[in-house]
Subunit: 227 residues, 2 copies
């Protein structure tokens, strides 16, 4: 499903070059549940953005579903991002002037649903993350963990087959985290693929495989023996 | 040092009234290290914003250092916020167009330091959180955990006597979290007061007292027996 080969991503700041990713080679098959871990600054979000077709590597190759992503047209990329991938951003990235209902419904506009259907689906999605009573709130009228849950609901609403979740429980108490992880496991059981960044070992334990990064490289990649 | 009595905070959204805080009564003495825990949406950040003089309760009384906060002038409040309190926000709240050096140096402008001194102090503060090599980066050129650490460095730079840290390690791996908690413990040992919101029990274990909230109320308030 996902094949990255010798992926690099560098940034130039003034006279300095920063290698956010040095060389990453990784293969993820359909239906896998992978946890991506590593120190702050090790390149996890950078790798996630490349996998999610939100960023382009400065070196190497990314083949998604058999197609080289660098050969895709802008329309094909937009299609992949909207229909096949659900992305939970580390910083949520909600529209500040829209309600949580409208934020969650956003991917459904691209999918072509009418307004009534979008609102019904968005209402159900918010209920599935415990926020059925916060539908009219804007992001600044929500707690940190509530914003995070709106971001999760938005990522899942189009039933994407690949979920990229960057620290989806970082702002959640244990009980709410368990509910969100339950949602992700349910989606995994339906045959979808999940790649989850987390720095918490308990959350990583839900995954079947654990990939560890350090300084823009993969230093470890093993099945989760304890599952 | 801090005395809140029957504090309430409500919001009106359309026809609905939300009681973010219902009735909170709490006393925190100088030099205490308190962990504040509770489910997502239980009112922790709302309480922290009131304690930090960033928000006003809709009911009840807040006495800080013997003075009723509602009697303070705007200048006196600004003084308290800048000189006595260091606040690490759950959403970091960095200036997007400024470098991490300028973000960290910001509280020093209010304190009246000249530019050269501010830059030296900011450089040291960034080194203390492991970001001496990221001084020229703007927030969008930093990882999530790096932004969080810039927010921590900024909160500590004026040597405030009260530190309010709202989930300061939410985006950090274990090793980096331990370094940040080490910083906070050092500051606590010098006699300062720390109130820390966290949803992680391991992080809460650094505190001497644990206050648990639920639905805008305090449901538990006990010394940490395991410390
Ligand atoms: N401006 C606002 N308008 C309306 N409701 C609000 C507003 N700000 C917060 N709330 C509500 O107040 C409640 C408490 O919010 P608060 O941010 O204090 O929670 P919290 O304990 O910090 O949660 P988390 O752990 O998710 O950060 C939440 O239910 C939230 O929806
Ligand atoms: N736009 C940019 N310009 C320059 N450097 C960048 C940029 N974006 C990220 N970096 C750097 O690339 C490195 C990797 O960043 P990345 O966000 O992938 O880390 P991460 O593993 O997600 O960290 P965290 O756990 O803190 O979220 C970091 O050292 C960061 O400073
Ligand atoms: Mg990251
Ligand atoms: Mg909060």
């Amino acid at each position: 499903l996902i094949q990255v080969t010798d992926i690099g991503r560098k940034y130039v700041i003034g006279a300095e070059t920063i290698h956010a990713l040095k060389s990453v080679t990784l293969q993820i098959n359909k239906g896998e549940f992978v946890a991506l871990m590593g120190p702050s600054g090790s390149g996890k979000s950078t790798l996630m953005n490349i996998l999610g077709c939100l960023d382009t590597p400065t070196r190497g190759e990314y083949i998604l579903n058999g197609i080289n992503v660098s050969d895709m047209t802008d329309d094909e990329l937009a299609d992949v991002r909207n229909k096949e991938i659900g992305f939970v951003f580390q910083t949520f990235n909600l529209l500040p002037r829209s309600t949580s209902l409208d934020n969650v419904a956003l991917p459904l506009i691209y999918a072509g649903y009418g307004k009534k259907t979008r609102n019904e689906m968005a209402q159900r999605a918010l209920e599935s993350v415990g926020l059925g009573n916060r539908v009219d709130h804007k992001p600044n009228e929500l707690s940190g963990g509530q914003r995070q849950r709106v971001a999760v609901a938005r990522a899942l609403i189009n039933n994407p087959s690949i979920i990229l979740a960057d620290e989806p429980t970082g702002n959640l108490d244990t009980k709410t985290s368990v509910e969100i992880m339950g949602l992700l496991e349910e989606i995994h059981h339906k045959g979808n693929t999940i790649i989850l960044v987390t720095h918490e070992e308990d959350i990583a334990q839900h995954a079947h495989r654990i990939v560890r990064m350090r300084d823009g490289l993969i230093e470890d990649d093993h099945p989760n023996k304890d599952i």
